[in-house]
Symmetry: C2
Subunit: 359 residues, 2 copies
């Protein structure tokens, strides 16, 4: 993969043209160490003549900082991560840091490789939205080697010394369910990716680490239902994969029950779009015959009729806060403690939620 670019002269070429040693040429171009004025001028003239590019690698080896941070996400094409990433870049670029990006496709092995490569490239720190929050050994290893890490959107099991910036997903889901309870709903369904985690969640206490946001949200649903004195009805928990069609099917199944839910919470935006479509296809009037709550203020949620009630996540802020925290770590402006920032989401009530129709 290594190629010689004729158009890209090396330090050696510059040194030869200026008639000095490579070390002298390096000092003259890098602006460090002792070089006589006349020599420096000769080197700079040779560099300009040859079209030599300042070598940031050499500078980084000397200063110990690459002015680069890594950002590792599962899928940059997901609007959630794209928006958070924008938040990160908006903070770190003005501070003089560049962003090295890696996509993992939610594969731990890809994440491990990305962290290793970034560490070798001597990034000054890494922001990670973990592929699998239950698996953090490689993150702990990187931290032990001195790489500051800020966890984004999900806390990771076994990584005690990483800061984290997450959204209070349990409270967000509980707020949405409380809204539905207040409207008079008693059979409240949920369409979730975390249906298979149900047993563990019901007995899990307050443990947040190691869980995907979808599982934390399901726990918020369970907590709110329980707090209202209602029994958890497992038949109201619709399991779906992270795609619209799967959520559509799960919703159709919930609606086909003898006692269908009068309201459904969807634990993210893609699932909500499938559930909305299922309600449309079944010809259900919202909110009379079905109330629906989703996550994220995506464009479609105010273009459909009725407009969708949603939990608005501070996604951009998630990125800016993570970026700022990492810069603090890198520049040493931390107080030594590991910090866990939890941002609050906000319920935006729109036309898709209302009182259940009288039966």
């Amino acid at each position: 993969m290594t190629t010689h670019r004729a158009a890209s002269p090396s330090l050696i070429d510059v040194a030869r043209a200026a008639g000095v040693s490579t070390a002298t040429a390096g000092r003259a171009l890098g602006g460090y160490g002792q070089v006589r004025a006349g020599t420096r001028e000769r080197v700079l003239a040779a560099a300009a003549e040859l079209g030599y590019r300042t070598n940031g690698l050499a500078r980084s080896m000397i200063t110990g900082s690459t002015q680069t941070i890594g950002v590792v996400v599962t899928d940059v094409a997901n609007p959630f991560f794209a928006t958070a990433l924008r938040g990160v870049t908006d903070v770190v670029q003005p501070a003089g840091f560049e962003v090295l990006l890696a996509n993992t496709g939610s594969a731990v092995e890809a994440e491990r490789r990305a962290i290793t490569v970034m560490s070798e490239k001597r990034v000054d720190g890494v922001i990670v939205a973990a592929a699998q929050p239950s698996q953090g050994a490689h993150l702990k290893h990187a931290i032990d080697l001195g790489v500051p890490i800020v966890l984004l959107d999900r806390q990771v099991a076994g990584v005690a010394d990483a800061d984290s910036v997450t959204i209070d997903n349990e409270q967000a889901a509980a707020d949405a369910v409380a809204h539905l309870l207040e409207l008079g709903h008693r059979r409240i369904g949920v369409v979730t990716e975390a249906g298979d985690r149900l047993a563990g969640l019901r007995g899990a206490g307050n443990r947040r680490k190691g869980l995907f946001p979808s599982a934390v949200r399901l726990r918020g649903y369970l907590r709110a239902i329980g707090a209202a004195g209602l029994e958890i009805d497992e038949g109201l928990i619709g399991s779906a994969r992270y795609d619209r069609d799967s959520a559509y099917d799960a919703t159709i199944r919930l609606l086909a029950r003898d006692d269908p839910p009068t309201a459904i919470l969807c634990t993210d935006n893609v699932l909500a779009s499938g559930a909305f479509r299922a309600a449309q296809d079944r010809g259900l009037r919202m909110p009379d015959q079905l109330s629906l709550v989703g996550f994220d203020d995506e464009p479609w949620t105010t273009l459909v009729r009725p407009e969708l009630t949603i939990v608005e996540q501070p996604t951009y802020d998630l990125g800016t806060r993570a970026g700022r925290r990492l810069l603090d770590r890198i520049t040493g402006a931390r107080d030594g403690r590991t910090v866990h920032v939890q941002l609050q989401a906000k319920l935006l009530v729109r036309g898709s939620t209302g009182a259940p129709a009288a039966r």
Copy 2:
């Protein structure tokens, strides 16, 4: 900004611990040059003991390749660029390249800085969605210094030696207008960001360089209207900024004409969402009272009623093709010619377009 990390030992530390010179330690750890077996073992043991990270910077200085490419976009939070970026990473990561990302916010100065920094960091090449396609001097400068550049989504004036991967936006818009003409529409409006470019576009011949996609699309509209033997009615060209509210206002103005358009083409997704909303608020039945065409197969376009007819861009492929082209350039597998790849978009006809109602 430079800090000393106690936890990050340097090559010097390793050399000292192993009792060898820094050069020897570097050769032992980098796996290049001559080192005696016993010495290599001592160095590796010292490195393990100290928790020394392999230094990719040193390796890069020797090999001349950083195995890194730059990607410069105007806004990574825009689903279009987020999806294209995913395409790039899906191609280059498996080939062993990392992605250095920069956001420019459409500011040429930010783009210039990003290109300079990336060049100093010795990226092996850069993919650029230019902030201002009319301004390419800094890109030309980087190419002259030996940095391979592939232009993404927009060709740039004055940059002859860069490959480009774009979508045939002129044909895409012309196809959409041809569809509306076939349905019987004669007063076809357009909501566009490029309204102020109208005069230039009407006389511009076939020049594509230096134009934003929105302007190229407007030219496609003009071409299709002209090809049908219709006069260009400037009153049917609604200018909007790149946001939903502005497109909403532009659409309301078009619909308030004495002879309103029976169909409207929106030159991108955000503008289409504003136009759709305006049609909803004005109580217009689509497609009878208004046909509407947008760009991009975003989730909302199939959740609204009627579903929106759209031009589907091969956005992900745009990224993969750009990534592949840049890898070809970097690895020398190019034939010397500059290549301009133009991908074709596809019209997806849905419920929002139909024959105009008889008057």
